[in-house]
């Protein structure tokens, strides 16, 4: 029998523990594992990753807006200091009702990361202690800026016209 690498062992154990919830689990390359789960069970998979597989060091929480498929993807990147593997724990949620259970209880470090994803994508994290604006100006009234339907001006000319309109109106 061939010895399995640490990455493959992680994939196998996650698949064995959550056969229903895990949609896809694969080794991307050396030190990278990607686990895609159903959005209602991300909390349990997170707890399993932390407690059983030593994924302890949160690296990043990133949101992606797939506007064509009408869904958001949230990816938690967690590094394991002992195993030297980075896992991408990903889940998809519908764009019309973006609600996800917060993983603050699992990894305390995601506190600001989730706040940022909330303000940039409008994804609501249930159970997060303080979902308020972090980076945006406090009087921000536009849509969440990182959504694909928030469009920036294309040319200098557009920007200039906008400015003139603003000056002439007020």
């Amino acid at each position: 029998m061939i010895d399995k690498s640490a990455e493959e062992l992680i994939v196998d154990s996650v698949k064995a523990r959550f056969p229903e919830e895990v949609i896809e689990a694969k080794v991307q390359r050396k030190n990278r594992v990607s686990i895609s789960v159903r959005n209602n069970r991300i909390y349990d998979v997170g707890l399993f990753l932390r407690d059983e597989l030593e994924f302890d060091h949160i690296a990043s929480v990133s949101g992606v807006d797939y506007i064509d498929m009408n869904e958001f993807e949230v990816i938690y990147y967690v590094w394991s200091i002992n195993k030297k593997v980075l896992v991408g724990l990903r889940t998809k949620i519908p764009r019309d009702n973006p609600v996800l259970k917060s993983l603050v209880d699992v990894w305390e470090g995601v506190l600001y990361h989730e706040r940022e994803v909330w303000e940039m994508f409008g994804i609501k994290f249930e159970g997060h202690p303080n979902l308020s604006l972090l980076l945006l100006p406090e009087d921000w009234d536009g849509p969440p800026p990182l959504r694909k339907d928030f469009v920036l001006p294309e040319t200098h000319q557009e920007r200039l016209e906008e400015k003139i309109k603003k000056l002439s109106s007020g």
């Binding site: 690296a59 470090g109 945006l136």
Partner: protein
């Protein structure tokens, strides 16, 4: 006792682009809430609009506080991983040289800020003056002092100028000698000990739990360095060690930075000795294939994470930047609980948070 709300910043000598909202009971800080976002430019959104090449100067300014080369390296790594591109050997060495010089400059800058916070003005002038020597070197190499856009997709833009090697080795020797002076002036200074020892102790378990990175994590005694864990570029060929601290207090966080300067000098000497001859740039098409990648690099302030989703066009579909200061920020409210008010600047400076980096 009544609790008073206090707001410090953004115009304050210690909080450059920050605001701290403090709950103070007499002289004791009960709670600190950082108010960030004063330098938020929306780089992640802008990156989606610009092409990969146009993004170079934009990404570089995520952290232009003396660490442009280290910041940029991660962006190039992630693109090159998606493209499956192998960069020429000489370019790899040149990239490492620029990044390590930047690391020294950044740590010297941090040391000088630290001395201002503790009121030791001499050590404000010395490291800044020595940093100029490093910036001179970088200027000879890249043509700019702070923001270089030196590394580019597929290599670097310029080769090493004549006489650069000799000059660099000379200056590194000087800097190594100079580090002893720093120890005498700052790190072995009794006043400095009184201000920084046992101030803001970050336990290793807390540091890991909060996701703290870089020298701050290593100062708590956790041996994590991307250059060793996942060697990128040519870091696996160099012989260097990872300095760690014992107590995880503010003093250790500065000492680790000074030790890292020593290791950077070490790496630079090896890189300048081993650098092979050859081309410095490879021509690459400006299109990145479809796919997804996450890379990590060790910049001066800690681990930079870049998450890129390419859709087969000239522009990124999504570029997520996970900068070190954003991840270290959470340690600030954690450490500022039930401490004297006078310790807040020390803890803030010791974490070496750069607001640009937090806000993007």
């Amino acid at each position: 006792m009544s609790i008073m709300k206090l707001s410090i910043g953004p115009q304050h000598p210690i909080s450059a682009h920050f605001r701290f909202l403090l709950d103070v009971d007499g002289d004791v800080v009960l709670k600190l809430e950082p108010d960030v976002g004063y330098t938020h430019r929306g780089i992640e959104k802008l990156a989606e609009k610009r092409t990969y090449l146009q993004n170079l100067p934009v990404i570089e300014r995520v952290n232009s506080y003396c660490d442009s080369a280290g910041t940029m390296l991660g962006y190039l790594e992630v693109i090159e991983e998606l493209m499956g591109l192998e960069v020429p050997e000489r370019a790899k060495y040149l990239r490492v040289i620029a990044a390590e010089l930047n690391r020294i400059a950044s740590h010297l800058y941090a040391a000088s800020l630290f001395s201002v916070a503790t009121g030791l003005e001499t050590m404000l002038m010395w490291p800044i003056n020595d940093r100029e020597l490093i910036l001179d070197l970088l200027e000879r190499l890249t043509g700019q002092r702070i923001t270089y856009t030196y590394q580019t997709i597929g290599g670097v833009r310029f080769d090493m100028p004549d006489g650069f090697k000799e000059e660099a080795l000379k200056r590194l020797d000087y800097l190594e000698k100079r580090t002893e002076d720093y120890y005498k002036m700052l790190l072995w200074n009794h006043t400095f000990h009184m201000r920084t020892k046992k101030v803001g102790i970050l336990r290793p378990s807390d540091a890991i739990k909060l996701g703290v990175v870089g020298p701050n994590l290593r100062a708590s005694g956790v041996k994590v360095d991307v250059r060793k864990d996942e060697p990128y570029e040519v870091y696996d060929r160099f012989d260097f060690s990872i300095p760690t601290g014992k107590n995880g207090d503010s003093y250790d966080r500065l000492e680790v930075r000074f030790k890292e300067v020593g290791q950077s000098i070490n790496i630079l000497r090896q890189a300048l000795k081993d650098i092979p001859k050859g081309p410095i740039k490879k021509w690459v098409p400006p299109i990145v294939p479809k796919g997804e990648a996450y890379t990590r690099v060790e910049a001066a302030r800690g681990e930079f994470g870049y998450h890129l989703i390419g859709d087969g066009s000239m522009k990124p579909y999504r570029l997520k930047i996970s900068p070190p200061s954003f991840r270290n920020l959470i340690a600030l409210p954690h450490l500022c609980q039930n401490i004297p008010l006078a310790d807040v600047p020390i803890i803030y400076i010791s974490l070496d948070l750069i607001p640009m980096d937090v806000d993007r």
